[in-house]
Amino acid sequence: MSLIDLANPTRFLALSARVLPWLAAATAILFAIGLYLSALAPDDYQQGATVKIMFIHVPNAWLSMFVWGVMSIASLGTLVWRHPLADVAAKAAAPIGAAFTFLALLTGSLWGRPMWGTYWEWDARLTSVLILFLMYLGLMALWRAVEDPSRAARAAAVLTLVGALNLPIIKFSVDWWNTLHQPASVMRMGGSTLDKSFLIPLLVMAVAFTLLFVTLHLAAMRNEILRRRVRSLQMMQASRVAFSGDVSTGSRQENASTGAA
């Protein structure tokens, strides 16, 4: 089965209905294992138990960028191949990506409170993730601004691709700006190689979160397809009502005019 076969929404709905329960089960099992391993992981000698926030934070941060990548590929599908499901995929991914980005920011700031003594630091990474979050919100606003989904899809696709080109530039300039303003005042996690006792739970959690995204994304795509069907049915019904209403009033006027004549 190739990608083009999936272009038929009915076939996609049937396939995803079969796949979704398995994906959800795999996600749940991996989360159980990952959370168990994270709970077992030893405390860090410097950071204590707060290091465990990392097991949630890092997968969310990784997904916040991964989802934009997925949306960029979907946008190429919209603009280049006019794949009917591509814009559904792009639209469904945006709120999920925004949620992951928000969770990355939230867990980061919860971790920053005991570590840095403040909820928010204009650190380069935090700032660029915040800008990413703003761009997700802008994209969602764009999707919501226009009624016709296919019209919004093309505009959103252009914006997503421009964003994908610009995000590295923004990241670079924010890094540069930060080193200019506050040289090396922030303690960093990186540098030291992670110990195995941290690395294994982290990897399991990363896979679990990625599967969670795939599951949520498929479910959201199904919802979007069904929502569009409902919308087009409603439009058909509305146009039928309007049309029949037109005819009746028109004939009434005709009767009136003939009566007057």
Partner: protein, 222 residues
């Protein structure tokens, strides 16, 4: 006269005539800068320290506000459809329109900068540095903003939505513009490094902007 130079000349003429609204941007710029002392207090030392940032923010907002005229009026009177269907590649036509818009709405901002620098207690060097960075940076604002203008015209939405979409993309320009002017005024960095990155940003947006705007217009207008 080639089609592109005709297009540029026409756009500048329309922008400068009655109803064009190119110079309203300068008025807005002036108003924003005049508002600033009311917000931060009439402390001249503080104002001269914040001066480059205030001027850059004002120029950013002013160039953003004039942007929705870039395609909207042409769309309303139908000439945008003619431009789209003409033999000139749409990317080049978009670049020409953006260039004309910059000449009509961006250059006056830079010309106004020395006067506004006076209000903010900036000395000659500082004013010159800000004007130079604006000269190098405002094309980037116009050309990335053009993407937002093209999206706005295909969606029949403008205003706030466009601002929300375009402003995050202009963060790098703001960072390097302010950094280069600060470097020229107080140091300790060299002026050259951030300034050349600013020029690079303008050149990159010169390439990305027309293509993205043309793609948006091609796919969006119907």
């Amino acid at each position: 006269m080639t089609p592109l130079s005709a297009l540029i000349r026409r756009d500048i003429k329309i922008a400068l005539r009655v109803g064009g609204g190119a110079l309203i941007g300068v008025l807005f710029f002036l108003t924003v800068v005049v508002l600033m002392p009311f917000a931060v207090g009439p402390d001249l030392a503080l104002l001269s320290r914040l001066g480059p940032a205030i001027l850059w923010l004002g120029a950013l907002l002013a160039s953003l506000l004039t942007l929705d005229r870039l395609f909207m009026s042409d769309h309303e009177d139908g000439s945008l459809d003619l431009i789209t269907m003409s033999r000139t590649p749409l990317e080049l036509a978009c670049a020409a329109k953006a260039l004309a818009h910059w000449l009509a709405a961006g250059l006056p901002l830079i010309v106004a900068t020395p006067v506004l620098g006076l209000l903010l207690n900036l000395d000659m060097v500082a004013t010159g540095a800000v004007a130079l960075t604006l000269l190098a940076g405002t094309p980037a604002l116009t050309f990335t903003g053009m993407i937002g203008a093209a999206l706005a015209v295909t969606l029949h939405r403008g205003g706030l939505l466009m601002a929300v979409l375009v402003l995050p993309l202009s963060i790098p320009v703001l960072i390097f513009g302010v950094a280069a002017s600060q470097a020229a005024i107080v140091g300790p960095m060299t002026f050259g490094a951030p300034f050349s990155i600013l020029c690079a940003l303008s050149l990159v947006s010169l390439v990305i902007g027309p293509f993205a705007a043309a793609a948006s217009l091609k796919h969006g207008l119907d």
